[in-house]
Structures are given as structure tokens and as C-alpha cells.
Symmetry: C2
Amino acid sequence: MRKVTIWFILFVWTSTVFAQKRILMENLGVSQDKDITPIVLEALQQADFKDAILVFPKGTYHFYPEKAIGKYHAVTNHDNSYKYFAFPLIGCTNIEIDGGGSDFIFHGVMTPFLVENSMGIKLKNFSIDWKEPFYLQAEVLESNALEQYVDIAVNPMTKTEFEGNRLGFVTNGLSLPFLGESMVFDPKTNAVAYNAQSYLLNGVASRKTFDQSLGGNNYRIKARFAKTPAPAGLIYIFKGPNRSNRLAPAIHLTNSSNLHLDKLNIYHAGGMGVIAEKSENIHLNEVNVKLREGSGRMVSTTADATHFCNCKGELVIENCLFENMLDDASNIHGTYVKISELVDKHTIRAGVNHIQQFDYNFASSGDKVEFITNETLLPIAPATVKSFKKINDHLFELSFVEELPATLKVNDAVDNVTWYPTTIFRNNVVRNNRARSILISIRNKTVIENNTFSSMMTSILFEGDLNHWYESGAVDDVLIRNNIFYDCVYGGGKGSVIWINPRMKQTLKDQPYEKNIVIEDNEFRTFDNSILSALSVDGLIFRNNKIIESGTYPKLWPGLPVIEVRDGLNTLIQNNSFEGKEKARIVIDENSSRSLKIDKKQKGFVIDKK
Amino acid sequence: MRKVTIWFILFVWTSTVFAQKRILMENLGVSQDKDITPIVLEALQQADFKDAILVFPKGTYHFYPEKAIGKYHAVTNHDNSYKYFAFPLIGCTNIEIDGGGSDFIFHGVMTPFLVENSMGIKLKNFSIDWKEPFYLQAEVLESNALEQYVDIAVNPMTKTEFEGNRLGFVTNGLSLPFLGESMVFDPKTNAVAYNAQSYLLNGVASRKTFDQSLGGNNYRIKARFAKTPAPAGLIYIFKGPNRSNRLAPAIHLTNSSNLHLDKLNIYHAGGMGVIAEKSENIHLNEVNVKLREGSGRMVSTTADATHFCNCKGELVIENCLFENMLDDASNIHGTYVKISELVDKHTIRAGVNHIQQFDYNFASSGDKVEFITNETLLPIAPATVKSFKKINDHLFELSFVEELPATLKVNDAVDNVTWYPTTIFRNNVVRNNRARSILISIRNKTVIENNTFSSMMTSILFEGDLNHWYESGAVDDVLIRNNIFYDCVYGGGKGSVIWINPRMKQTLKDQPYEKNIVIEDNEFRTFDNSILSALSVDGLIFRNNKIIESGTYPKLWPGLPVIEVRDGLNTLIQNNSFEGKEKARIVIDENSSRSLKIDKKQKGFVIDKK
């Protein structure tokens, strides 16, 4: 039996390898001084879009949108637009791009890689960067809290545009008339600044600035800061207004399968590093989203390093470094769509509600879904999709094989449960970024192990909501082990290092939303109190974890308990240890206490049961 | 023979009429208080998109984008975007929309009518208007030329948005952060103000304003005006920045045939009234683009009333009123695309160059084209299209049945000569608008008769260029007769009432660009000198015309001759009369003089031959 298997594997391996033609890009005339975009297209056409390896000689290559394949293109969690693709891997089979260790430099608003309707794609051995960053970076020279202004020196890598009394900027041909969304970094730590949220220009404040040129690249920004302008020495990053700052992700994987990303350095993107949707079997190995040494840039991607929406099969993310993004390292989730009309016994109208989900291909015939109650986010009944017809980018008609459940009503939701992966997230480093390390909202087996995490917000977040992001869904089997959590949640917002926080309007005490989350053998070395906060979870286990107060910063939320469980069922807390100035509080609400098992001899804790 | 024809016509007529099912919209529940958009879709689905008349009972009906059919959509001479359609006449045959005299009111950024891939479509008996106009209208309260500011009272029909020190506005859900493109109207004449171009904020000046709230709806706009701010009492219209002010044309006709528009009042559009491209046989009768009485609005459509790009068959525009648009009454032309690469003996790469032509479907297999020399705009050779493949929205590959001409070079152009109509423009009134009355750039027979024209710029313009609009092409047979031209070219710019002005880099003296333009039996009652200026035309006839100086305004260009011909061949000027304070100068250059025939006894003229 074993012999047969080995022979079979060898057969598949050799047939695959031999089927791929090597196309040497130097024979097509790639060189460092021309636009490589049309040459890539020529190579793909030569291979008839299948069974080929495009091999680049090591070098620095430039890509421009002018001659790139283009189309109107929707990318989930981004801004839809007419986009240009340097590597249009559309309808491809068994294609590998081997960069040979090259640097790929992109110019303008373009999407370097699109993998669409393809199978068996491997991207390896290259870096992605842009000549111009999609943000403005500026050092604080002087800060005046009383008069609410900062004087900044703008890094000349981005061209400013001063009109009226407002500072904007022009980058990659894009004119951004406002500073827009902001973050503050600390050059001493190379990370988001401690308590950075106090220094931001939130919402309309980022449009309503009264600016003044101070000569050269220096400007005075007078505005309503969240609390106070950032002190001298810190670095402001502005990425322009919402709706025009997520136009250029580095790699988009959609409606494809068997995708391997190997040894990539993504130094920048005007959006996410890797955004995957409705795709099956994805493996990221050594895909680093990181700063390029010596670039002087403080930010890598302007949104998440990686993001997976309704993927299925096996998702593996390993041996990666994710640093200095302006959003999460990884967000793995499904999609709740909201019902707007019950058309007939088998048919509803529903839609996506967040503008960055517009034009999303939610379902196909044969997909299994669950109907979800608006108030509790709990499932009503399963069903099978018969047809999915788009009316426009935010509204579609869904019909089902089965009759609709009798209790189903407008504003309830649908969750496409065919499209969830099993996930492994291991041996990764996440650090210095805005927002969370990872978000997990998927029902299948998930293992998070041997990582180190240090993010400005929560490190591992579980949510699910039907009012803001519309990201489903409940987890069922998660193992978090052998990770080290360094200083987290230092940006100023409330949160826990591990935060189980589904956002339903109403929790049913005997029917928790999340299930089976095991957190064991981890080390937490952070400055603030809240390590674990859990709401509405059945089968939470927190054991054999070591918590050591780091003392790096003053505590931001000293009133919070170290561990808190609300509306939990069958919680087990066992054999953890705590080292800190005071005893660590464990707070369990009345509802959770009934089925709680807790080890009372754990070192350094005090238990507060309601 | 005659009997047979009549019987045949009767047969076609009756079979057509009997084939159309009447769908009474009241039976589908239309009423004045709901969104009619999904009901229109239901009616079209009921009819299977063919052989039906949708009959509205007279009323006022409202249409919203939320439930409208949507898609990314390119519209020539507009801004491409994801658009929503209230009447999505896509793939329809033999459909009539009978509004029964109703008012159709649109809300938000949407396109009321799309006729695409359809044949036999009739739209009749309704009006199109928007709840909110796509512009800001403001009366000048005070004007200070020395300090370059105006104080304005903004008409509250548009909501202002004041941020930083810049006035912008929000309309139809669109946030326009700058005042953008401007025009000045005179409420005494209800038309564009005399010498309005002096008062404008051109280009970057419309972004770089320093504004100040004066309380209520009053603002001070401090900026660099073209010459001087408009005096008190005049009306500024601002339509927001270029690239975001042509998103919502009223009626788009594309890739369709046999289209009838009858008795329509288009009171407004955020773009053109009727924009047609690549369509065959179009008839407009009583399609008025006009102000709604009592609305207080000074502007109808924010771009051309009508516009026809590469249409063919018969185009008839008759009995229409076109007033107070922010652009031409009609522009009928083809498209020059510029060659960027000679790929092989049969293949070129070429592209559209103006951003408002992006994603244009320039040609199809079988189309006849002409290659055009860049320098002279003259034809090199004809050819037949074998294939047309888009690379992106501004670049495509064209292959031809024939070999490319030996002299063809990069930057030469291609003109699709299959797609030109014969045109009749008669019994129309054009008045009070910004820009020209009509532009004619088509090779087939064109008759312009029994119209009255009064526009701020040229009334009838012939051009053709390969550097700005890329609108082809040369005319071959134009008859302009029995029209009355009232005050024209009063906006301040240079130009003639009839201006034949192709824009080639180089004119060949023995090969004029334009041919056979006959201007006869017209009456010109305008205040300024220049009635006709002609460049590079063979067979120009100007006869039996009456010119009477109106004295309405001081002359803007008193140095210009009344008639001027340069590089003309076979010009005839005969039996015209002129009444004015001084004699009217006719200036003919040396090259034109050789083959000129001129009647020296014409009343009121003095001839100046070089």
C-alpha cells in the first residue's frame, strides 16, 4: 500500500514538472530599463496561459500600467475601480512565476498580480515594491497642544499638493486632496507609537485641517486631534481619504485553487499584500510583508498584510514576517449578507452592506448556506443555493432548493458555509503594525502555533457582526498554542490580547456563538492587564499559559481584569501562571460560573466569580 | 409598383403594432410615492424584453439607484463608472416607453435610460429631471476686482460643504470638494453672460480658492479669476471638478438601431441629455433640453444637449429646443485613434487618448477604416478590420485584411468610416447655452436647415483634431440653409458664427481637409464681426445670405473680418448682403484667391484679397 502511494506521488510530481515549459524571460528581452508588463503578457500568450514557468534572471524590473491588461475589477475589502494588472493570471493552469530573487518595482495605481479563474499557480522568489509610496510620511518638529497644531517635515519621497489652506499629496498619479486616514509611529521602536490613538485626525477632522506652509517641505497642521497632537520626534503617516486609499493591492487571488506563494517580500502596496476571496487551497510560505531596509519608509502595506474571505480547502500561512502594515496581519472570515426582501417561498433578495464588499460574488449554485438570526447571529436552518443573480453591486436575488424557514425575516442574514477553510497559522512574526495581529471567524479547524505577536490592538480577535463589517462567522475548533505575545494593545484603544467578542444584539445564555477555543502553552509578555476577554463561548480552555508583566509602558486600562468570561459555557481555566506587581484578577460572570472549571491554585491569580 | 410598396409598408406597420403587448404600469402598482425602478424591471421581465409598450398613467414618478440594475459602464464623452439604470433597455427588441406626459424624477447618481444592444426602441411623452441639480448656483452680491473676490448667495437647492477654507458642495450623494468648472449667466437674458469668460475660475484656479463663510448661505470666494470677478447680479454656476461632473447622462444609446425619441423634456442631467455611440438610425423629434418653468434653475444639462459619436444610418434631429446647457446642443463626429505600435504587416496597436473616450468600442470585424496622416489629417489608404482586441481601456490591437500601407507610421491615426450617419438637423432652436450650437465632423450628407441659433461660442463648428478631443473627421457634403443666427460668440472667446477650423499641423494647399460646404439663404443678426471663417476647404459656397449687425453688445473682436478664407479651393461667395455701421471685410488668402469666384457687387462688403 505504501509503495503504491509513493509511486503515485512520484508520478503526479514528475508529470506535473515535465508538463511545465520553462520560459526564460531574458530570451523575451527583459531588462532593467524597460516596461516589463507587455513582456509578461507575451510570455503568458506564448504558453497559452498554461503549463509554464516564467523564469526571471535576478534583477530589478519595472512595471507600468500603460500597456497592462485592464478591466473594471472588484476586490473585496478594497475600493473597486478600473484596474491594470502586470501579471494577469486569468484563466491560467499550472503556471509558475519564478522571480529568481528579483525586485519588481511598480509605478502608478496598478495591481501587480491577479490570479483569477485559475488553478495550480505558484509565485516565488521576488519582491514587490512601488517607486512611490501610497502615503505621506512626516516627522513632527513641534507640537502645540494648547493651539492644537503640529509642525511637520514631510519626507520628500511623496509630493505634497497645497491648495487653499489644506495639505494634500500626489502619488502614483493619484491626487489626494486631504491628508485622510492617519497613524503615528515611533522611530525609536519602529512601531506604532504608544497611545497613538490620542494623536490621530479621525473622520472629518482629517478633511477639516487648516494648514500653513512653513517653507520647504515643512507645514503646520492645525486640526482637531483625537486628544492632542503627537509630540516632536514621532512620525505621522497619512494615507488619503477612505474610498481612495485601497486601490492597489499587491496580489489578488480570486475564484482559483491550489495557489502557492513562496519566498516573497512585499515591501508595499496601496491596499493589502495578499487578498484572497472564494479560492481553495492556499499556501503562503515565507511571504514577508515588511519594510525594505534603508528605504526610510515607516509603513509596508497600507492595509492588511493578508486577508482571506470565503476561502475553502486548506489555508496554510507559515514562516512569514508581517510588520509595519496599516492594518491586520491576517483576517480570515466569511460574509454575512443581509436579507432585504422575502420574494417567494424559495427566493430572497439580499445584499452586501459595506461599500468595500460591493460587487462580491457571494454564492454559486450548489453552495450550502445557513440562515442567521439578526438579533443573536445564531443559525436558523441550512439550505442549498439554487441560483445567485446580481441586480447591482450591492443587491442580488438568491433562490434555494429548500423552502425558506417559516421564521425567516427581513434583516436576517445568510452565511455561505461551503466557503470556509481549515487553517494553519504557524511560525510567523507579527509586529509593529496598526490594528490587530489576526482575526479568526471561520468554523473549520484552525491551529495558531509557534508565532510571536505584537500589535497595536488585539493580537487574536474573534468577532462576527451584522452591522459594520458584516464578517462572519462563529468558530468551532481553534487551537492557540506555543505562541509568544509581546506588548500588545498599546495603541490606546480598549481590548484584550486575545479577544473573543462576537457582536450580536442579544446573547442567548445557553447557546453561545463561539465554540471550542483552546489556548494553551503560550507566553504573554505585555505591559497591560487584559490578556483574555471572552463573550458567548462554549468550551473555552485556557491552560498552561505563562503571563509576565513586561513593564514596557504605563498601563492604559489598569481597571480591566486579566481574564474575563461572560456568557460562557463549559469554560476551563487551568495551570496558568502570572508574574506582575499585583495579583491578576480573573472575572467570571454568573452565567459562565455555573459550568466553569477553574484551577484555584494557579500562581499569581485572584478569582472574582459573580 | 407604388401599390406594392404601400401594401408592404402597411404590412410592416400592422405586424409591428400588433406584435407589441401593452403593459399598463398602473397594474404593476406604480404610484407617486414609491421607487418605480424595480417596477420598470418587472415590466421588462414580464415582456421578456421584447415586443411591448410600457404605458404610464400621467403622473410624477420617482426613481432611485438602490434597486436599479447596475454595472460598470463606459459612456463616451463622459466619466466611466459603476452606473445604475432606471430603464435598463439592454438586449431589447421592439420596446416602447410611453410616459403619458409624466414627469420622471431621478435621485442620486444614476443613468435614467440605457439603450444597449437593442433594436426598435421608442421613448416618448415624458420628462426627465433630478430632485437635486448636479451643480451649485449662486448669485453675485458684491464683486471686488482689486482684491479679486466675489460675495455670493448660494441657491439653497444645493447643499454646500465648507471644509478648510474651501467651498464645495454635496449633491445626489456626491461630495464635490471644489467648486470646479464654472460658467456665468445673466438673469436678465437668461443666457450665458456677455463676455462671461472673463469671470471664470479656470483650471487650477477653481481648486485654489480661499473662501470664507459670510453667514447663512453667503460666501466670499477669493480666487484668481480669468480677468475679473463677475459683477453683482450675475449668476455663477459651478459643476464640480472635471472627472466627477459627467457621471449621469439622461439617455445613453449604444450599439443599437432604429431608435425614436419623441416628445421628451430633459430638464436636467449630470452630463449630456442624449449621448449616442455606435448606433444606427436615430430620430429625435421634439426632444427638448430646457429649463423647467418656475424651477429657479439657470442650467439644463451640465454637458451637451445631444451628442452622436460614430453613429450610422440616418440621424434626424428636428423640432427640438436646446437651451441653457453647459455645453453644445449637438456634436456629431467620429473618432481618430492614434497608432502607438506597428506590430506586423497587418496589425497595429492604437488607443484612445482623451480620458473621456476610455473603454470605447472603436471597431468590429468588417468595419471599413481609413488610415490618416498625423501631420495633415489626410487619408493614406482604406482598409478592412479583421479583428479588434482591447488590451485595456486606452489601448487595443487592430488587425486588417489588407497589408498596412508602406508609409504608415506611429502617431498616424485610424478613422472608422463605416460609422458615419447622414444627418438632418432642422427646425430646432438653440439658445442661451455655454459653448457651441452644433459641431459637424462627418463625411456623409448633412442638412442643417430652418433652425435658429444663439450660443455663447460658435454656432456651427467644423473641426477634427489629433491632439485634444480626437474627434474625426472631414465633411464632404453639408448644406446650411434658411437658418437664423442671433447673437453668437458673445462669451469672450475668439471664433466665428460658422467656423471651419480643422486642426492639422500642416495644410497641403492643393488638398483641403473639408469639402463641399454650402451656406445659403441664412440670416445673421449678431453684434460682432466674424460670421464665417474657413480653413482648408474645397467647394465652399456662401451665397444669398443676409447679415445684419444687431448692435446688442459692444464688439469683442472688431479687428476680425466678416468673412475669411484660408487655404480654400473653389470658393464661391455670391449675392450676400451686409447691413452695419461700417463695410464688412472679406479677406481671402493668396492660396484661396486663385480659384475663388466672388460676386463683387454684394451690398455692404469690401474685398481684401491677398
